[in-house]
């Protein structure tokens, strides 16, 4: 018992020293905390697939009333904004190539006639596929407008699809990405700080002095882990606050569960970082290893593209990716209000990763001392 208290006290000293080293200089504080704020704001606004005021051009070869009606609906929507009325098909290339128009709507010459005859009249859309998600979204919007047009004309629709959306009634694409940022953005720096922690002391020459004290490698490791975890949690909290209060995305789940998940996730991330740190001989190496690891971790986590779309082998590989589960957990708790039972499965890999990497780091530490 006494030994435990003594150990805790020493860990306390270690943490204090580490936090002082991290936070003493104003520039260090800025680098640790400002990016979370700035990035969450910038990316919050950027992360949207929505199309509004999309510039489009029109080539109306039919000149009829129906075309005019469709155009009136297009122009009247906030989704589209007409930037050019083309006169001939040869102008289409120019409109799209320069990026001026996202799409060109073409009414063929027989459009009006076919509608009057009661036959399906094709309406051509030429989309700029340089960003296929936006193109698809624009296409879908045109589809909706046309469907409304068809319904207004009294076209018979035997089956209507009634949609209801959980958690995100307006289907904002940003709502799907921003909660992910809580875990993702903070992981970057947490991982880096943990990875550089030991290497920095080695390069500065303070490591020897540390090793000469009675502090054991395990204590030193814990003393480095805790400050990194605290920084990670601070960053996550900043992002959480921005998402909740600036962007106004409602949080449905329990904050306690959210933080429990965040803590577990951060511990797993720090474990990986410390393992890297124990391996590296200097800061350059630590940084390089971290870069190498962060790429796959971020890209294969489901941040931008769903894990489900990945090939089976990679999907299995992501079981070792704490970000995948951390993000999933945070998003489910935040947006969906998931309870402990729902997200319990996310905790398992996180705990496993922490349970593997932290002892590994300690072992590497001990054996790399000389």
């Amino acid at each position: 018992m006494v030994a435990l208290l003594a150990a805790l006290l020493r860990i306390g000293f270690l943490c204090r020293k580490e936090l002082l080293a991290l936070l003493k200089e104003p520039s260090s504080r800025v680098i640790l905390l400002a990016p979370a704020l700035v990035q969450s704001l910038l990316f919050g606004y950027a992360a949207t697939f929505e199309v509004t005021h999309a510039p489009y051009a029109v080539l109306d070869q039919s000149g009829g009333a129906a075309a005019a009606e469709v155009l009136r609906r297009l122009d009247g929507s906030t989704t589209f904004e007409r930037t050019a009325t083309l006169r001939s098909a040869s102008e289409i290339a120019g409109a799209i190539d320069d990026g001026g128009a996202l799409l060109v709507v073409v009414f063929p010459a027989d459009f009006e006639r076919r509608l009057a005859m009661g036959v399906p009249a094709p309406l051509q859309l030429i989309l700029d596929g340089r960003n296929s998600s936006t193109a698809a979204a624009a296409s879908a919007h045109v589809g909706t407008i046309v469907a409304n047009f068809n319904a207004a004309r009294g076209a018979f629709q035997p089956v209507t699809l009634e949609r209801r959306i959980w958690y995100n009634p307006n289907l904002h694409s940003s709502w799907g990405i921003m909660p992910n940022l809580i875990a993702a953005l903070s992981m970057i720096q947490t991982l880096l700080i943990a990875a550089l922690s030991v290497a920095r002391e080695r390069e500065q020459g303070t490591f020897d002095q540390l090793l000469v004290t009675p502090l054991t490698p395990m204590l030193i490791l814990v003393g480095k882990a805790i400050p990194a975890i605290l920084v990670g949690l601070a960053q996550s909290s900043i992002i959480l606050l921005v998402i909740r209060y600036w962007f106004g995305i409602p949080m449905h789940g329990s904050p306690w569960l959210l933080y429990l998940g965040l803590v577990t996730f951060t511990i797993a991330a720090v474990g990986i970082g410390l393992a890297v740190s124990a391996l590296s001989l200097n800061m350059q190496q630590a940084m390089l290893y971290t870069f190498m690891i962060i790429m796959p971790l971020m890209l294969l986590s489901g941040l931008l593209t769903p894990v489900r779309n990945m090939p089976q082998a990679l999907q299995i590989a992501t079981w070792a990716n704490p970000l995948r589960f951390g993000m999933d957990l945070v998003r489910r708790v935040y947006l969906e209000g998931a309870g402990l039972r729902d997200v319990a499965i996310d905790f398992v890999p996180l705990v496993c990763i922490a349970a593997v990497t932290l002892p590994l780091a300690a072992w590497l530490f001990r054996n790399r001392l000389s």
Binding site: L14, R16, L20, Q209, V212, T213, P214, L215, T216, S370
Partner: protein
């Protein structure tokens, strides 16, 4: 050619310190030097020597005053100055991934040394620095002193009009120091080079034509060595302690009497001291007891110490060495450090070959040797930082192979390079290391306050920005917080001015008297005199082991002539050892 090499008028330079106030590094300096002269800058740490040299090299701009180097206004056209000078900073930045030869080539290329000249130049430089065997070794794998030598070699790839050297012989053993000065002397002689050297070694300053004494940014005194020496005339003496009394003990007694004695230092078994001018023999009598006192010729070091002491007295800052009482041990105890057949190999390179020695409690034990001799490796093994390849190692009664953590709680370690956290304050560093050793609460606070007072440290100062000597003090303070049984000091006084060195050793001797065992490595041979016993290593082998007197006698053996100072003894023993090794290798 005698013109002015440097003309400085009213130079001032301040640096902003955290907390708003500015530190005046150089204040109103004015002096002239002649070209072709060898000029020494001496002074304690924080005197402004490095700042002055950097201003001369055009790396810092003076806040006020004018500075002209070789006729060029430095502030206006620093590049022109840099094209004509060579500057060796205190810590020369070598490219660690590049080999010795590649580093030399790089600097030769950058300075534009023509290839014909280069080969011969390199050959002589490599011979002088004894690095010819290591041309292919990456600079990062050289020992500290060898790096310093390589740094000097890179600075000397060409002969400039003016050479600036910032403490070039710090961390360099006496042999190499002697070699370095041979190079410098030859350069001055053959190429009419002007040199400005900042140094802590008085014997080096003595060889110079002109000496500038700086203190806290001001010029305290300047002149030829002879002129400065004259200040100490009539005050210098040698005292041979009575039999049975260690020179160290007499020295301690003398140096504590600050009203009567300016300085005292053990040398060659006797104590050289300087009395305060005006102190008469009668008042000195009680201090000296039965010691035999003879007058001696004054030296530059004496004048320097007098100047500094005067200045210090003016300012009123006299740190006292207070050490808490601890029961002293008796001599029949088992040794606290036992080393038997210690070996350390790195691959196929044997750094330490089968070394054995004991250290008793309360002893001051010195490990000496040239750079690359294996001292640091032995040291690191003793501290538990490096495992031994084979052999038996016992520290504080604990086998280092088994009970490392326990053993570490009983030792203190002061590294050669500053190894505490630079961006923490003095107090924060002490709090951390105290806590790491298990101190807490009121005990910790009390110990911290005690060591702060003992070493004269400002608790709020940023550790990384302290001048060199204060950094060492802080390191010592951190090593002593937990009142260890054994203290390991790795070149604790390299780069520190004589004043601070005295105080240091005063503290050490007091500690030893209280029963703390001290193991120390040093390049200042006179400090070997403070030790009870010393060991001299070279190339991993133990060449001598015994009291300073025994070692001096051993050195005198084949040489014939009596060797009365450790410097010469050291050189003699090492050279003899190398000759023997050479003959073995040849046989």
């Amino acid at each position: 050619m005698t013109g002015a090499a440097i003309v400085a008028t009213g130079l001032c330079r301040a640096f902003p310190a955290p907390g708003g106030t500015a530190v005046q590094a150089v204040a109103d300096l004015s002096f002239r030097t002649r070209s072709g002269d060898l000029v020494a800058l001496v002074g304690p740490d924080g005197a402004g020597k490095t700042t002055l040299l950097r201003m001369l090299a055009g790396l810092l701009r003076p806040d006020a005053g004018s500075l002209s180097v070789l006729g060029i206004d430095v502030a206006a056209d620093p590049q022109a100055v840099q094209d004509r000078i060579s500057y060796m900073p205190q810590r020369f930045g070598l490219y660690e991934d590049l080999s010795v030869a590649e580093n030399l080539d790089l600097y030769a290329d950058l300075h534009g040394v023509p290839t014909e000249v280069r080969r011969e130049r390199f050959a002589s430089l490599l011979a002088m620095t004894d690095l010819a065997r290591f041309t292919a070794r990456p600079a990062g794998q050289l020992s500290g002193g060898m790096k310093q030598k390589l740094g000097l070699a890179c600075t000397l790839v060409r002969s400039p009009a003016l050479l600036l050297l910032d403490e070039p012989s710090v961390g360099v053993d006496p042999l190499s120091r002697r070699d370095l000065w041979r190079i410098i002397d030859r350069l001055v002689r053959d190429e009419a080079l002007s040199v400005v050297v900042s140094t802590a070694y008085m014997d080096e300053a003595q060889r110079c034509a002109h000496v500038l004494v700086l203190h806290e940014g001001r010029l305290l005194a300047q002149g030829t060595p002879a002129e400065l020496r004259a200040r100490a005339a009539g005050c210098t003496f040698t005292a041979v302690p009575p039999p049975g009394m260690a020179a160290r003990a007499l020295q301690a007694r003398l140096i504590d009497a600050r009203d009567l004695i300016v300085d005292a230092v053990p040398k060659g078994g006797a104590v050289r001291f300087i009395s305060v001018p005006g102190a008469d023999a009668a008042s000195l009598r009680p201090l000296l007891d039965d010691a035999v006192v003879t007058v001696r010729q004054e030296e530059l070091e004496d004048a320097f110490m007098m100047l500094l002491r005067e200045r210090q007295r003016e300012r009123g800052a006299v740190p006292s060495a207070q050490v808490r009482e601890r029961p002293a041990g008796n001599d029949d105890e088992a040794p606290v450090i036992v080393v038997r057949d210690l070996v350390r190999r790195f691959g196929d390179f044997t750094a330490v070959a089968s070394t054995s020695f004991d250290v008793r409690r309360g002893e001051i034990f010195g490990l000496l040797g040239p750079n690359g001799a294996g001292k640091t490796t032995t040291f690191r093994m003793l501290c538990g930082l490096l495992p031994a390849s084979s052999g038996h190692l016992e520290v504080a009664g604990l086998d280092l192979r088994r009970a490392r953590a326990e053993a570490r709680a009983r030792i203190g370690y002061v590294a050669q390079k500053f190894a505490l956290y630079g961006n923490l304050t003095v107090r924060e560093n002490l709090q951390f290391f105290g806590g790491a050793y298990g101190l807490r609460g009121t005990t910790l606070r009390a110990r911290i306050d005690a060591t702060l007072a003992q070493f004269g440290l400002d608790p709020a100062a940023r550790s990384g920005e302290l001048p060199g000597g204060f950094k060492q003090r802080l390191a010592m303070a951190a090593g002593l917080l937990h009142e260890p049984e054994i203290l390991f000091l790795d070149e604790p006084t390299s780069g520190i001015d004589p004043l601070a060195r005295r105080d240091f050793w005063r503290t050490i001797t007091a500690l030893a008297a209280r029963g703390v065992t001290i193991v120390v490595t040093t390049h200042f041979m006179e400090e070997a005199e403070y030790c009870d016993r010393i060991a001299i290593q070279d190339a991993g082998r133990m060449l001598a082991l015994g009291t300073p007197r025994q070692v001096r006698e051993q050195a005198a053996q084949d040489g014939g002539a009596a060797v009365d100072d450790m410097d010469s003894a050291f050189i003699a023993i090492v050279e003899r050892g190398r000759r023997a090794a050479g003959m073995e290798a040849a046989a």
